[in-house]
Symmetry: C2
Subunit: 127 residues, 2 copies
DNA sequence: TTAACTGCAAATCTTTTGCACAATC
DNA sequence: GATTGTGCAAAAGATTTGCAGTTAA
């Protein structure tokens, strides 16, 4: 894979944010720095970067994919109040153990999506 | 909500199948019994029936939603060989207990998607 | 009768793709 | 100079929606 300014900007943008931006968020944020940039290029680069393991894709049914700079294993909480996606680090051992017990299943991987109220909205509520 | 032949056919179709059909699968299967049926009507009825709790929606990133007649709580295994979606009944207690321990999180619900090889494909493999 | 439902087609939203041109190595 | 990447615009796929006509209660 060879260098491109567009890919560099996409990667930097994702790495600089903790809010799980969509392809369009990223496009809007960097297009000023790169006149003529096209959304298709952002998509192509995001796909490549995810495939290379430089970032992760977060898929939540019914909405555009988001992109996450954090490579370490973790899960996501979709806030039912404000729509934000928050990182959550759960202890996966209970799940892994339970799945390992099921020798009738050949599970390669799984994804867990959480729905609830994010920490920011909870703080607002309790005031 | 009042009776309609279209809704009746959609519901019957889902209830008669264990293969998690998509809206389009359902449309193709029943349109002979209902000349002039439109895909939009199938979508509208599926949405209504899910909302009424008469069936469940199964969302897997990157593909069309599927519909599931089984109302009881369970999970889904997406087969990476053949693309089928298989019902899986897991012991959720370990997950629920782990989540309950995390009093810093306000989780309302969660969804678990499994990826692996379905029972049918595993049988074929082992021959 | 009237509120809910339908068919149709167009619109929406997200993502991909074909192609001619440009940039990298 | 070969190959990879880009911009543009069109296409694709899933789903929703506006509207005028139809149907159940």
């Amino acid at each position: 894979m060879r260098y491109s300014r567009q890919r560099e900007l996409v990667l930097r943008q994702v790495q600089s944010r903790c809010d799980h931006p969509t392809a369009d968020d990223i496009y809007l944020a960097i297009r000023d720095e790169c006149p003529g940039l096209s959304l298709g290029t952002v998509y192509r680069n995001l796909n490549g970067l995810v495939e290379m393991g430089r970032m992760r894709r977060v898929s939540i049914p019914g909405m555009a994919d988001r992109f996450d700079r954090t490579l370490m294993d973790h899960d996501h909480l979709y806030c039912t109040k404000c729509g934000k996606v928050e990182d959550v680090h759960l202890d996966k051992e209970p799940i892994n153990a339970m799945l390992k017990d099921r020798k009738d299943l050949a599970i390669e991987r799984y994804s867990l999506n959480l729905y609830g109220v994010c920490s920011e909205c909870r703080e607002k509520e309790s005031c």
